[in-house]
C-alpha cells in the first residue's frame, strides 16, 4: 500500500471510531435519558468500582470475542460473537453516562443533548489519542461503562433524572 494510502487509511479509521462512539453516546442519551442519568450517577459516586467491575466482566467477554476464531465449534463461536457485540453495545451505553458527565461539568447551562454531544466530542478525542487512547483509555473507558451499566441496573431502575440539570427554558 502506498504511503499516502496508509495515512488516509489511519485517518479514516480514527474518524470512523470517533463518529461511531459519538453517535452511540448521543443516541443512547436521547433514547434512554433516565438510564443515562443512572450511569452518570455511578460515575459520580463510584467510578473506580465501575472500572473494576467492568474489567472483570466486560474484559474476558471482549477478549474472547477478539479470539473467536480460535474457539472450537461453530455454535460456540456464534454465541461468542453475539456476546461480544452485546457487551460492546452495553459498554457504549454505559460510557454515554461518562460523556454526559463530562458535558454536564463543562457546560452546566446547556441543554441535555448539547451536554452529551460536547462531552462525547471530548471523550471521543481522548479515546482516539494515538497509542495511549486506543491502547489503554478506550478499553478502560469501555470497561468502566460496562461496569457502570451493571452497577446502575437500568433494567430495574426507578431513578429520577440527573439532579441539578436545568430543564430547557421554554421560548
Amino acid at each position: 500500500m502506498p504511503y499516502t494510502g496508509n495515512v488516509l487509511f489511519f485517518l479514516a479509521l480514527h474518524a470512523a471510531l470517533f463518529l461511531i462512539l459519538l453517535g452511540h453516546w448521543v443516541a443512547f442519551g436521547g433514547m434512554f435519558p433516565k438510564a443515562t442519568a443512572d450511569f452518570v450517577r455511578q460515575y459520580d459516586e463510584r467510578p473506580i468500582r465501575a472500572l473494576l467491575l467492568g474489567s472483570v466482566t466486560y474484559g474476558p467477554i471482549f477478549v474472547l470475542f477478539l479470539n473467536t476464531a480460535k474457539l472450537p465449534g461453530t455454535a460456540l463461536r456464534v454465541a461468542m460473537i453475539a456476546a461480544g457485540v452485546v457487551a460492546l453495545l452495553v459498554a457504549f451505553a454505559g460510557t454515554a453516562g461518562l460523556a454526559l458527565r463530562i458535558g454536564r461539568n463543562l457546560s452546566a447551562d446547556a441543554s441535555r443533548w448539547q451536554q452529551g454531544l460536547r462531552g462525547g466530542v471530548m471523550l471521543g478525542l481522548v479515546f482516539i489519542t494515538p497509542f495511549l487512547g486506543w491502547g489503554f483509555l478506550l478499553h478502560a473507558g469501555l470497561a468502566s461503562g460496562f461496569g457502570a451499566f451493571l452497577l446502575a441496573k437500568p433494567w430495574r431502575s426507578t431513578a429520577a433524572d440527573i439532579p441539578g440539570l436545568p430543564a430547557p427554558a421554554l421560548p
Binding site: 474489567s55 477478549v63 478502560a140
Partner: protein, 503 residues
C-alpha cells in the same frame, strides 16, 4: 463521590492495564493479518516440531521436498515425515484442498490484476503489469502451501513460454497465466494446449492473430503452427514435416484478437474496452479447404472446428507423449532422464489422454525418481526461493529480490524465445557469483524489503547443527560443519555451498 479504598483503586488500575494488554495481544494477530494484506510482515508460521533431518544422506522426505516444492522451510521435514511421502504427494496433487491463506493475503493487493475483465487491463500503464506478475509469481512460490502446484505453474510457463514485452502481451500475459497456466497446471494437457492456442497472449506472441487467409494469394503465418509442434507437442524430432506445419497453419487461420486499434487482422471487430484482447474467430479470414495433418485428413468446411481437430491430432500423437514425458522427467528426475522413466510416463500420458496428475503419480513412483536425490542443480529461481523459504524470510518480493534473479539470468517471464528457460544445469553455471552474493546479502539482511530472523530461527530449531540439517536436507558433513563454524558467516556460506545449490 464515595470514598475509594486504596485496594480498590489498585485493583481497578491493574484490571484496566491487564485488559488493555489482553486486547492488544488479541489484536496483534488481527494487525499482523491486516499488515500481510498490505504486504508487510508476510512470514510463514513456524510450527512445532521442527525436528531437522537426521540422516547422513538426503532421505526420501528431503528428496520429495526438494523436488516437488521450491524447497523446505523450517519444520516441513518433520511435518512430511509424520504424514509420509506418499500422503504428502497426494496432498500436493489436490491443491484446492490445501489452506493457502497466507499466500492469499500476501497477493490480495494485486487481485485486480486477475479479477478485472481482460479488456480493462488495457487501462493500466503498459509497463506496469509484467513486474506485478513477476512479484506475484515470486510471492506465490515462497508462501504458497500449494507448492507443487506452483512448481508445475513454473514448468508450464516455460513450456508455453510467452515474452510479455511483445505487443499486447504486456497486457494479456497475466490473463494467460491465470486462464491457461494456473487453470490447467494439474489438469489435462489437451485442455491446456487448447487454452494456450486460444490465449490472446499466445495469439500475439506467436503471431496467431496475424494468421489470416482473406484472399487466395495470402499466405498463412506459420509461426505458431511451427512452435505448436516443435515446442508444445511433438518436439523438434517428433516426426512432423514442413508440409504439416503449413497445414496446421491453414487450420488455425482466422483466429485473432480484438485489437485496441485496427491492426489489419481483427477486421471490423473493434469493440468496447471490456472486450479488447479477447480471442475471436473470423470465418472470412479462415482457410476452409481440406487439410492433411500428420497423416490425418481434416475435411473442408469445418471452420473453427479445425482447431479442435488439430489439437486432437497433435495431443494424441505418440511423439507428444514422449516429448512431454521427457520434459517432466528432466524437471523432476535428471537433466538426462532415464529412458525407463520417460517410457513409463509417456505410456501413462497415452493411457490417460494427457491427464497431468496421472503422469506425475507414475513419475514419482518410478525407482529412477527415488534414486535421484541431490543430483539436480537448482535453477536460479528455485535457488532464490528455496533460500528464502529455508530461512523463513519475510519478503515483499519487490525489485531488490527480483534484481538478483535478473542478474542470475532467470527473471520470471522475461525469456524472449518461445522455448522457455532451459532446465539443464549447464545453462546456469555462469551466474554462480550472483548466487553467492545473494546468499551473503540474505544472511545479513541486506536485501531491501526482505528480512530474516536468523537468531530466532536458530533458537527455535535448537542448534547450529539443526539449522544446517534443515537447510541441507541431511546432517552436515564434518567439513561443512567446520566451515560453518569457522567462516564467521556460516549461514551465508551454507546458502552458497554446493550442497544447497542442488536438490
Amino acid at each position: 463521590m464515595k470514598k475509594t479504598s486504596r485496594r480498590e483503586f489498585v485493583a481497578a488500575s491493574a484490571g484496566a492495564v491487564a485488559l488493555s494488554a489482553a486486547i492488544f495481544k488479541s489484536a496483534q494477530g488481527w494487525l499482523t493479518t491486516m499488515g500481510q494484506y498490505a504486504g508487510v510482515g508476510v512470514e510463514r508460521t513456524l510450527h512445532e516440531p521442527m525436528t531437522p533431518p537426521a540422516g547422513a544422506e538426503i532421505d526420501p522426505v528431503s528428496h520429495a521436498l526438494n523436488r516437488i516444492t521450491f524447497g523446505p522451510g523450517p519444520g516441513d521435514h518433520a511435518r512430511v515425515s509424520a504424514m509420509g511421502v506418499k500422503a504428502f504427494i497426494e496432498e500436493q496433487l489436490g491443491p484446492e484442498k490445501i489452506d493457502n491463506s497466507l499466500c492469499d493475503r500476501a497477493t490480495a493487493r494485486f487481485g485486480d490484476l486477475w479479477n478485472e475483465p481482460l479488456g480493462e487491463q488495457y487501462d493500466v500503464d503498459s509497463e506496469a503489469l509484467p513486474p506485478v506478475l513477476r512479484q506475484v509469481t515470486l510471492l506465490r512460490a515462497i508462501y504458497s502451501e500449494r507448492q507443487f502446484f506452483e512448481v508445475m505453474c513454473e514448468f508450464w510457463s516455460d513450456h508455453f513460454n510467452i515474452d510479455p514485452t511483445k505487443g499486447d502481451c504486456r497486457w494479456t500475459k497475466p490473463d494467460d497465466d491465470a486462464q491457461v497456466i494456473r487453470k490447467h497446471a494439474l489438469g489435462n494437457f489437451r485442455g491446456m494446449l487448447r487454452a494456450s492456442a486460444l490465449s490472446p497472449a499466445m495469439l500475439w506472441y506467436l503471431d496467431g492473430r496475424a494468421n489470416v487467409k482473406r484472399t487466395p494469394e495470402e499466405k498463412p503465418n506459420e509461426n505458431y503452427a511451427r512452435e505448436l509442434m516443435e515446442l508444445h507437442t511433438l518436439g523438434v524430432h517428433g516426426g512432423y514435416t514442413q508440409q504439416d506445419v503449413m497445414e496446421v497453419a491453414r487450420c488455425l487461420t482466422g483466429w485473432t484478437v480484438l485489437a485496441r486499434k485496427d491492426d489489419g487482422f481483427s477486421g471490423n471487430l473493434l469493440s468496447p474496452l471490456k472486450d479488447r484482447g479477447v480471442a475471436v474467430f473470423r470465418p472470412e479470414a479462415h482457410d476452409d479447404g481440406a487439410k492433411r495433418v500428420l497423416g490425418s485428413e481434416i475435411p473442408a468446411g469445418l471452420g473453427e472446428k479445425d482447431l479442435d481437430r488439430v489439437i486432437e491430432i497433435v495431443a494424441s500423437h505418440p511423439s507428444t507423449a514422449r516429448f512431454v514425458a521427457h520434459k517432466l522427467c528432466a524437471r523432476f528426475i535428471a537433466d538426462e532422464p532415464p529412458a525407463a522413466a520417460v517410457a513409463a510416463v509417456a505410456a501413462e500420458f497415452a493411457a490417460s489422454a494427457g491427464d497431468i496428475k496421472s503422469m506425475l503419480r507414475v513419475l514419482f513412483a518410478t525407482p529412477e525418481f527415488s534414486a535421484s536425490g541431490g543430483v539436480k542443480f537448482k535453477r536460479p529461481f528455485h535457488f532464490v526461493v528455496s533460500a528464502l523459504r529455508a530461512t523463513n524470510a519475510s519478503t515483499s518480493a519487490e525489485r531488490p529480490v527480483l534484481s538478483y534473479l535478473e542478474r542470475m539470468g532467470h527473471m520470471p517471464f522475461r525469456y524472449p524465445t518461445p522455448d522457455g528457460y532451459p532446465a539443464a544445469a549447464i545453462h546456469w553455471h555462469a551466474t554462480l557469483l550472483w548466487r553467492w552474493k545473494f546468499a551473503l546479502a540474505l544472511a545479513n539482511n541486506r536485501i531491501g524489503g526482505t528480512h530474516i530472523e536468523r537468531f530466532r530461527l536458530q533458537r527455535r530449531i535448537g542448534s547450529d547443527a539443526g539449522l544446517m540439517a534443515t537447510l541441507l536436507g541431511r546432517q552436515p558433513r564434518a567439513e561443512e560443519s567446520d566451515a560453518y563454524l569457522k567462516s564467521g558467516d556460516g549461514l551465508a556460506l551454507l546458502l552458497a555451498s554446493p550442497a544447497f545449490q542442488r536438490c
